[in-house]
Symmetry: C2
Subunit: 354 residues, 2 copies
């Protein structure tokens, strides 16, 4: 690695995009400071007999809530949906009402889609809970309850919120496994601290190998569905400015696979240790033996981790790859956007994003 690249990496560490340097300490702090608040919220949801929970956001701030639905579906009896902000409004769900809780995530707290979704939910008399960087944001001021995470860790902290809340509901509904997952979540910060150091070198090597690719598929299933979406359709496209495609890994078998006859694209596989593993491995083998250029991120490489915690563990390896890949493509200011944040894609009074 040359000096120039080293200097750019140093600069990258200060960027909003590159959260790996702070993830460990910020997650530890978040779990410590917010745990009781979030658990009380869960208890309240049970006591108030909430009839439907909606997880609402856009882009990264949609998929970081996705695990919340997965956990509630798996372990609890509360009907719930995870909707893209505008889709939530357009769909105009009949069940939405006084007995609904709506969680809305946005880093800026001033994302057009999600601000409107918040106002729509209030208009329908639902309880609104905003998960935002700062309580002083537009959404922070308008929501009934605010979870303020005060950090650039805009994926991992809302994700942690979704886990703690959903696992606490599960625990209150008598699921012993939920306590186990919760306990293991406390082991994650030290692992992230270590990963920030140990993952850099191999990420650099992978980025060098893939530096001329201009299309990346990212595939994941189960607990890794959300993280695969995040990197496939947000981080890689947004920060490396390449073409991207995301799908559930099992779905690759139902049509997409036929393109391998002519195309040999870069394909990134996120592989968990949950029930989805055998099918994802099968897809991986087909892609491998038919010439796709493959990157494999496997939870099994990181020791004995609860399968549900996969997205916490594969985040830093992928982020290091994205940072080097952006720099190697001449994108040296990781916080600069060509289109987003300029009043073109996001519009409205006090709206600053996208």
């Amino acid at each position: 690695m040359n000096d120039q690249l080293s200097n750019l990496v140093q600069k990258a560490k200060e960027s909003t995009l590159f959260t790996a340097p702070v993830l460990s300490s910020h997650l530890e702090r978040f779990l410590k400071e917010k745990r009781d608040l979030i658990r009380n919220l869960a208890r309240q949801a049970i006591e108030e007999k909430v009839e439907h929970i909606y997880w609402v956001g856009s882009g990264n701030s949609w998929v970081n809530l996705h695990s919340g639905k997965q956990i509630l579906d798996r372990y609890t009896t509360i009907p719930n949906d995870c909707f893209i902000s505008y889709d939530f409004i357009w769909r105009n769900p009949r069940r939405l009402g006084e007995k609904s809780w709506v969680f809305l995530a946005s880093f800026s707290g001033a994302t057009e889609d999600t601000v409107l979704a918040l106002r729509y939910a209030k208009m329908r008399q639902a309880r609104t809970i905003a998960i935002v960087n700062s309580a002083e944001s537009l959404m922070g001021r308008e929501a009934d309850v605010v979870i303020e995470y005060q950090s650039k860790a805009l994926y991992i902290l809302p994700l942690a919120f979704a886990y703690v809340f959903s696992l606490e509901i599960a625990r209150l509904q008598g699921v012993e496994e939920a306590d186990k997952v919760m306990q293991e979540l406390y082991n994650i910060p030290p692992l992230l601290h270590k990963q920030y150091i140990t993952e850099e070198q191999s990420a650099y090597q992978k980025a060098m190998m893939f530096k001329d690719e201009n299309l990346f598929y990212v595939l994941g299933s189960g607990p890794l569905y959300g993280l695969a979406y995040k990197f496939g359709l947000t981080v890689f496209m947004e920060n490396m400015r390449v073409n991207g495609s995301f799908m559930d890994a099992s779905e690759f078998r139902h049509g997409p696979v036929e393109m391998l006859w002519r195309e040999k694209p870069a394909m990134v596989f996120l592989i968990g240790t949950d029930e989805s593993r055998p099918i994802v491995e099968r897809v991986y083998q087909v892609a491998m033996t038919n010439g796709a250029k493959i990157l494999r991120y496997d939870l099994a490489d990181y020791g004995d981790i609860h399968p549900l915690l996969a997205p916490f563990v594969l985040m830093i390896p992928l982020q290091w790859f994205a940072v080097y890949s952006a720099l190697l493509r001449g994108i040296t200011d990781l916080d600069e956007r060509v289109f987003m944040g300029r009043g073109i894609l996001g519009q409205g009074n006090q709206i600053i994003w996208p």
Copy 2:
């Protein structure tokens, strides 16, 4: 158009892929023959106080059920989810049980993922309803109720099932609008008959213009979300063997847009006349002014159609485009698959797909 291509188009009309020639008559027949059966099923669901409905399938046979969830969410109070077959099994939803109904779609009735999902649902004591081409298939024999559509129209007929069932639930729950949509659905077959004739020429011209593209994004929102997924991740990739990417159109603003700085890909916009239109138009304008190669399919071009019926109306224009695009890429047998249906991607006793 030369003679050779004309001959290939004639041959294509006999293929399983190319359903446009039969869509009008088969939809008309399906609505006539199955309407009472489906409406009785809806009445029964209400009478039995079904607590949760699951829509389950893979690939095309997942997204054709997607509209069922949209309609139930919008017009009814029944909690429901639309899951990819394996995701349904892996998620292992706690709510699933005796008071659940599970709709499972598969053209062959012998799709690995969906056969397993059916058995899993039965094991959990849920009522299973298979939507299959033939009642004599594996799923047809194992499900509690079978909706047999006896046609190659593997998108439009299961879609019609999802509409009729969900709209009938809505009607029984007092939604007047549901009757209106249902009435308008009966006007669709004559339109499809006309489209099969009138759409060919412009599809050929578009296919010629895009014949050298090897990556297509397909974007749609609201009622067109499912159709955009179908063409983006199944038809184009499966039959034209090109790279593909699908996302909700509103999501393009939350990351993906940044790739337009370097890339000028082919982008297909499906534009409805529902609430999503202004945002989809905004995304369309950004893509247009930044050099993407654009194909626009707009429901507004087809007269006064109920916004919810959009996927029925944009199907044939897109399918004609796919047929010509496949032929122009040297793929002359539209039913040949390189990987699917060969015991690699789909495995198990009596399993024939994918």
